[in-house]
């Protein structure tokens, strides 16, 4: 089937499409179903990560010339067989939080940054990287969720 034929078929299918949305209240009901699942006790393992090193801003990392030292605060946490690297960089009035999960993880794993004001999440990149921008000064919990369980950095002070 060439492009033109495929296009004609697509148009014909669209023109015959008489489907309608499910009723709004049914749709809301279906979305709320998930809350029941979320409320069930989690069987995931949880590791609390401990801080193993912290490099304050302006201090060079091992092997780095002092002139190259930036404004970023670098932290390394360990939890079980895994580690989490976190880098906090001031950006104007807020901060950028970048990091990398160093351990086994699968596609779909996420990092969740939460505080009393709410939570944000982002998927891990192929190399386990994650990034949160516009992070306000405050205390946060950072959790990396993988198939194996949760790796939690609790009480991460930003700013």
């Amino acid at each position: 089937m060439n492009s033109q034929e495929r296009l004609e078929k697509i148009i014909s299918l669209m023109e015959r499409d008489d489907s309608i949305d499910a009723p709004q209240d049914t749709l809301r009901w279906a979305k709320n179903l998930f809350a029941v699942r979320a409320a069930e006790p989690s069987t995931l393992r949880r590791w609390i990560a401990v801080l193993v090193s912290e490099l304050a801003p302006g201090r060079p990392a091992l092997g780095e010339r002092s002139a190259a030292a930036g404004k970023a605060r670098q932290l390394l946490y360990q939890a079980g067989d895994a580690a989490v690297e976190v880098e906090i960089t001031p950006k104007g009035k807020s901060f950028e939080l970048n990091g990398q999960f160093l351990g086994e993880f699968q596609e779909g794993s996420i990092a969740v940054l939460s505080s009393e004001d709410g939570s944000r999440e982002c998927g891990l990149s192929e190399v386990g990287g994650f990034a949160f921008d516009k992070v306000a000064k405050g205390n946060y919990d950072l959790v990396v969720r993988t198939e194996a369980g949760e790796f939690a950095v609790e009480g991460l002070a930003v700013g």
Partner: protein, 190 residues
Amino acid sequence: MINDSQFTSEDARLVLRCRRGQQAAWDELVERYQRLIFAIPRRAGLSEDEATDVFQEVFVTLVQKLDELEQPDRLRSWLVTTAKFKTWAVVRGRKPEAEAGEGEEHSEMMAAIADDSPAADEMLIELEQQHLIRTAVAKLDERCRKIVSMIYLRSTAASYAEVAGEIGVGETSISPLRARCLKKLEKLLR
């Protein structure tokens, strides 16, 4: 006719995110499939109330089985098959009444979707293809999405003048814009 590989990998990612407890992923999954799941019992001739029951049963089953789906990339097939069997159960449960009260054409329509005959398969294939097209339309930029939806996805197609008014361009621009948008859509489904 339609290459669904990018959609199946998106489905797999959605399932994985749901397994990790992400409500946003579940909402996206429900939004993505609600029309298709509601259309299956409706196309089989079930009433809106019966179709709603089927719809709810499908999603209850999915939320219960989320962790057991062996092939998350085959979510669409799983949902369609589940909706088909649940529709079938309703049809079988009320068949005498339906045949007596709603005529031969209605019974044939129900039978067509609720069995394994080629006609049933064709109907489901068409519903699935329409679902994939709607999913692809949702991926178009806003202007193209409006143009394609207004012209092709409404029960009554919008006129070029209406579309032009909606997106804020001259009426003469609509024909070339429509062609470009269709090309983009075709590329997404290639």
